[in-house]
């Protein structure tokens, strides 16, 4: 089917009709160009938003306390809900489906941290060891907090890389003591966080130590947990269970929207995934639509070409061309023209994306627009298919030409 001879025949025809072929090719190249640029932009948008999620676990549920807003069991609204270690224990032992769990305690007031003669102010988070799984905390030196630290109320600290840079200036911090509100803590680890500079200026302390040292008693500001690979409905069920237990302990109406604030990242992430899926679908529809316009163009021009070549095709048939060989002639020409032109469109589209990537230094919602190999392969397959579709109707028309009518003298 793909003998050199057949191709020779097709090249002959194409070289005799250069302008026609060029115009045909242009519409396909343009279609593919638009498809690639759209797909790449969609990818850029997707990556931009994904970048916003990079810091935190996407399967987490965060619970913050608030103030009651409706009366419940004779209690007036406007009461503060205060979480304690007991809430943490209840959730940890009582709620099914919780994978990792931590609570957070914040030290009141401005927190000065001193090492030697240098003093600076940092964000101090007092947490459980599981906290490591909630923020994407990566250790670069030493260790993170462990259960023994909690149990023994050890005065240890894990510091971010920027804390190390500012306080230690290249000195090895492990084993050194820093003073937090004047209290010495031994540095046991250094971490980095892809969440950015702010997240790298954090110091983690064992929650039990903080509560005792900084007058927190058993108070907890928030509880955070991961829920494994729970689906959206599963995560919602967990959040509901959580709310009921806390509502029961603190005597507020479970339907009170302001008593506790639960943010379910699974839900949020799913919403984002759905949105991205929608955008991708939209982009494909628009892109394929544009391409389809090109294909219709090719089909149209090929139809005119077949009409023009009626006599020639009649001659070929009189000389022994089978319908299939005539069909093949037209089909292969269409596939060849669309594939070659489409390839140029593909390359041009990738070029445009490169320019876009260079021009728009990553904003928050747009990052690294590009098409991956899979998309390029599907686009190529689409092209060949498009060519075949573009060629099919004209080819069928050509194959149906009857030599008698084609050769009739005017």
């Amino acid at each position: 089917m793909f003998s050199l001879d057949t191709w020779q025949e097709i090249f002959d025809t194409i070289s005799k009709n250069k302008l026609r072929t060029l115009l045909t090719g242009f519409s396909v190249a343009w279609g593919i160009l638009m498809l690639i640029v759209l797909l790449g932009s969609g990818q850029g948008l997707s990556r931009g938003v994904e970048y916003g999620f990079r810091d935190d676990a996407t399967n987490s549920i965060w619970v913050r306390s608030g103030q009651t807003s409706v009366p419940h069991k004779g209690l007036r609204p406007g009461r503060n809900v205060q979480f304690t270690n007991d809430d943490y224990d209840v959730v940890k032992s009582g709620v099914r489906g919780v994978d990792h769990i931590t609570s957070r305690f914040f030290i009141r007031g401005n927190v000065a941290v001193t090492y030697g003669d240098r003093t600076s102010s940092f964000n101090i988070r007092s947490v459980h060891p599981d906290h490591q799984y909630l923020e994407k905390t990566e250790m670069v030196d030493g260790r993170f907090l462990n259960p023994m630290d909690i149990e023994e109320h050890r005065k240890v600290a894990v510091i971010g890389v920027r804390v190390k840079d500012q306080l230690f200036r290249g000195k090895d911090p492990i084993g050194e003591y820093i003073r937090i509100k004047g209290v010495p803590f031994q540095v046991v680890g250094v971490f980095t966080d892809i969440g950015g500079e702010g997240e790298q200026e954090v110091i983690y302390l064992p929650i039990s130590t903080s509560q005792r040292t900084f007058g927190g008693a058993n108070r907890v500001a928030m509880i955070m947990m991961t829920v494994g690979d729970a689906t959206v409905p599963e995560s919602q069920a967990i959040a509901e269970d959580l709310k009921l237990r806390i509502a029961e302990r603190h005597d507020f109406d479970p339907n009170d929207a302001r008593a506790v604030f639960i943010s379910n990242a699974v839900e949020g992430f799913q919403r984002f995934v759905d949105l991205m899926g929608g955008i991708r679908m939209f982009v494909w529809v628009i892109g394929v639509g544009t391409l389809l316009a090109g294909v219709v163009g090719v089909s149209n021009i090929m139809l005119i070409a077949v009409k023009e070549r009626t006599k020639e095709i009649g001659i070929r048939k009189a000389l022994g061309a089978t319908p299939w060989s005539v069909m093949k002639l037209v089909l292969q020409e269409a596939v060849l023209v669309t594939s070659v032109a489409g390839y140029f469109g593909l390359v041009a589209g990738v070029g445009v994306l490169e320019l876009m990537a260079g021009g728009l230094r990553s904003s928050d919602f747009f990052k690294d627009p590009a098409v991956d190999f899979k998309v390029a392969v599907s686009a190529t397959a689409l092209l060949v298919l498009a060519g075949a579709i573009a060629g099919f109707f004209p080819a069928r028309r050509a194959a149906a030409i009857r030599p008698v009518e084609a050769l009739r003298d005017e």
Binding site: D5, D12, I315, R316, A318, L319, T322
Partner: protein
């Protein structure tokens, strides 16, 4: 004729062929029962006024059109309700066509035009171009091989078409008004070429409305209103002269 006393099996045989065209609501009965037998090696002309059905008859004979009732045997095979593919193959194997308006493909050179039937028989390019040049030489156009049709005179174009009809070694050549677009001097020369080819053993049917041309064939069939009105043999005095030895040799060598 002596030759006919021991008749060979028919090359073409038509029995009771009817053909009707529908033109809108009208039905046009073009062929009204054609019975015709043509032996191998005959040189036959079909005459008739326009509308007599001669072109339709040629199309049926050339497997370019089908017929409604009757039987048509070509080289011993019944031709009836063939698929397009099958008739294309038979055309390619058995038949050569020569048309009034030459019907060369305008963007192909003389040699490419001549080689085209072999392309559809799957002969490799080098081989078919070599053969095409040989056949062009045979019709006296060796020096025009690389020319496009528009660079050739009418007579030369018709010779290219004849070379193209011959190259696949057909058993029958069907010529539809082959001299219709040529002046009388060129027509006579062309007929000479066709007679030489016929002398090499190829059965030949020529549709014409010119008496001079019909007079140069062995047998004249007259059509009128879709029926055969006359079927007569020309006098031996008008029978074709034998082919020049050189051409006969080439034909023998090729076939």
């Amino acid at each position: 004729m002596e030759v006919r006393s021991n008749p060979a099996p028919a090359m073409l045989s038509l029995r009771g062929i009817h053909k009707t065209y529908s033109v809108g609501a009208n039905r046009l009965h073009v062929l009204k029962g054609i019975d015709l037998t043509i032996a191998p090696g005959e040189l036959v002309s079909i005459m008739g006024a326009s509308g007599s059905g001669k072109s339709t008859l040629l199309n049926v004979l050339g497997l370019l059109d089908n017929y409604d009732t009757g039987e048509y045997y070509l080289d011993g095979q019944l031709i009836k309700d063939l698929s397009e593919t099958k008739s294309a193959v038979l055309r390619s194997q058995l038949l050569g066509f020569v048309f009034q308006s030459f019907n060369l493909i305008h963007f192909k050179t003389a040699v490419e035009n001549v080689a085209l039937p072999l392309y559809y028989q799957g002969v490799p390019r080098r081989e078919r171009n070599r053969l095409a040049e040989e056949y062009l030489a045979r019709v006296g156009l060796a020096d025009r091989a690389g020319h496009l049709p528009r660079e050739l005179s009418g007579g030369q174009q018709q010779r290219v078409a004849i070379a193209r009809a011959l190259i696949a070694k057909p058993k029958v050549i069907l010529a539809d008004e082959p001299t219709g677009a040529l002046d009388s001097q060129t027509s006579i020369e062309l007929m000479e070429t066709l007679r030489e080819i016929n002398a090499s053993g190829v059965t030949m049917l020529i549709v014409t409305h010119e008496r001079d041309i019909a007079a140069l064939t062995q047998r004249v069939i007259r059509l009128r209103d879709g029926r055969i009105e006359g079927d007569e043999r020309n006098q031996p005095a008008q029978a074709p002269v034998p082919a020049p030895p050189a051409l006969a040799e080439v034909s023998a060598g090729l076939s």
